[in-house]
Amino acid sequence: MSDLDTSVDEIQPRESLFEAPPLAEQERMVEAVLFGSADPVSIADLTARMPHGCDPKAAVEQLQRRYEGRGVRVTRVGDAWAIRTAPDLGFLMQKETVETRKLSRAAVETLAIIAYHQPCTRAEIEEIRGVSVSRGTIDQLIEMEWIRFGRRRMTPGRPVTYIVTPNFLDHFGLESARDLPGLKELRAAGLLESRPMPEIGGLTEEETDEQDDLFEDES
């Protein structure tokens, strides 16, 4: 307990009128808020809700440890946090199962390509799949709020790019897009590079580097 008090002190070097509640109390607060919300709650949102001087990040991390191995757990989604049931208990929850529209193979692949190559243009998706992407596919993924428009690519035509959303991360239980399964291996194998076809004419090379920094800006 004295540990906790110290950390509160650090945040609030005694100058504020009301002292922040002890960390244990902050943890209770975070617990109540996360339990109360179906969507992930951002640290900023927690800060706004909790009394002045609180450290929601420390509290949420402590809460996360507390719930380790329990029937529900505290999970991170981007810079937000949520409580979700433990996946191994899914079998108990059949009543709660939501029937999701079955995604077509094209939609699943398109989603994966966007997730692993983001930000990713439609042309790149088509290049990888070797077929054109139907409008319905992108539309469906946008509607499901799994992908959204990213910033435009600074190449001729300034094409829009697609990126995955926090909703996507939440749905698949990912902390961030970096945690996509096998991402590192794929990158190491060079399979996430955009490598243009060697042109018979010979005008190539330029576009190769562009894609490398993919996940960099997110950090």
């Binding site: 109360g36 996946p87 699943v108 994966a112 070797g130 194998a189």
Partner: protein, 265 residues
């Protein structure tokens, strides 16, 4: 791409087994998502790692597939044929000794790129499968069943999603494209216009008058306009007759149609 002699010989003739496999594929041609997908499936028959696959052999397999489809008179989509042409080109590059004066990429470069594409597609397939195999919200793990009912008293926040915004904009910018009831074309007279015109004129038509005299001025000169105006005026006259405003008569087949106002009789 390596192409040692062994593979070279192997690929010269296509085994019965491969032919059968190719035929089985054809039956299912609708199930493929494009030439790359087909190539990937064909490559599986080589039973080697994609990195060591023989692109030359794969080209033979693909071309055999396309041939077979032709024999069976199956219409292949254009992109399958484009790929076939490209593979035929690639095949010749791989088989012929490199021409030192040729500056373009070598056959090996092109083959390597195709191998890369196949490997990348396969990798994305795996990734997609892994992704979908993950625990999913609403299927394996669940959110709070009773999210706290937040008292909705404080300030009202108006919100809109990016989708709303874009759809709103698209709606405005394409508004002009959807005017199904407006006829912009100059040489069309609508029935409403003709009716309007006739209503004005009909009171003066005490005696039987040719319908053609009701065409708007100048419209009888241009055949296109005349046709439209005649049809519209005729339709309008039927409308007026139905309303009891005029009478119609015609002396015989193809004789001029005449009208007169009912009030003046």
């Amino acid at each position: 791409m390596t192409q040692d002699d062994e593979q070279f010989e192997l690929t010269g003739v296509i085994s019965v087994e491969e032919r059968l496999a190719a035929e089985a594929l054809i039956v299912d041609v609708d199930g493929f998502e494009g030439p790359l997908d087909l190539l990937l499936t064909l490559s599986r028959t080589q039973k080697v790692d994609l990195r060591t696959i023989s692109i030359l052999q794969l080209s033979y397999q693909y071309l055999a597939f396309v041939e077979k489809a032709k024999e069976l008179r199956i219409e292949l989509a254009a992109d399958y044929l484009v790929m076939a042409a490209w593979l035929a080109f690639l095949k010749s590059r791989l088989l012929l000794p490199p021409d030192p004066t040729d500056e373009g990429p070598s056959g090996a470069d092109l083959a390597a790129h195709l191998a890369f594409q196949l490997e990348r597609l396969a990798a994305m397939r795996d990734a997609a499968a892994q992704l979908m195999g993950r625990d999913q919200k609403g299927r394996n793990f669940f959110v709070r069943g009773v999210p706290e009912t937040m008292e909705r008293v404080r300030n009202v926040t108006y919100t809109a999603s990016l989708l709303d915004l874009m759809q709103g904009y698209a709606r405005i910018r394409t508004k002009d494209e959807f005017r199904p009831f407006v006829l912009d074309r100059k040489s069309i007279l609508s029935m409403e216009q003709a009716l309007e015109r006739m209503r004005g004129l009909i009171t003066f038509a005490g005696d039987w008058t040719d319908l053609s005299s009701y065409l708007p001025e100048g419209w009888e000169l241009d055949p296109k306009k005349r046709r439209s105006a005649t049809a519209a005026t005729f339709a309008a006259s039927l409308e007026l007759a139905k309303a009891g405003k005029i009478e119609l008569r015609q002396g015989g087949t193809f004789a001029p149609i005449q009208i007169r106002s009912v009030n003046n009789r």
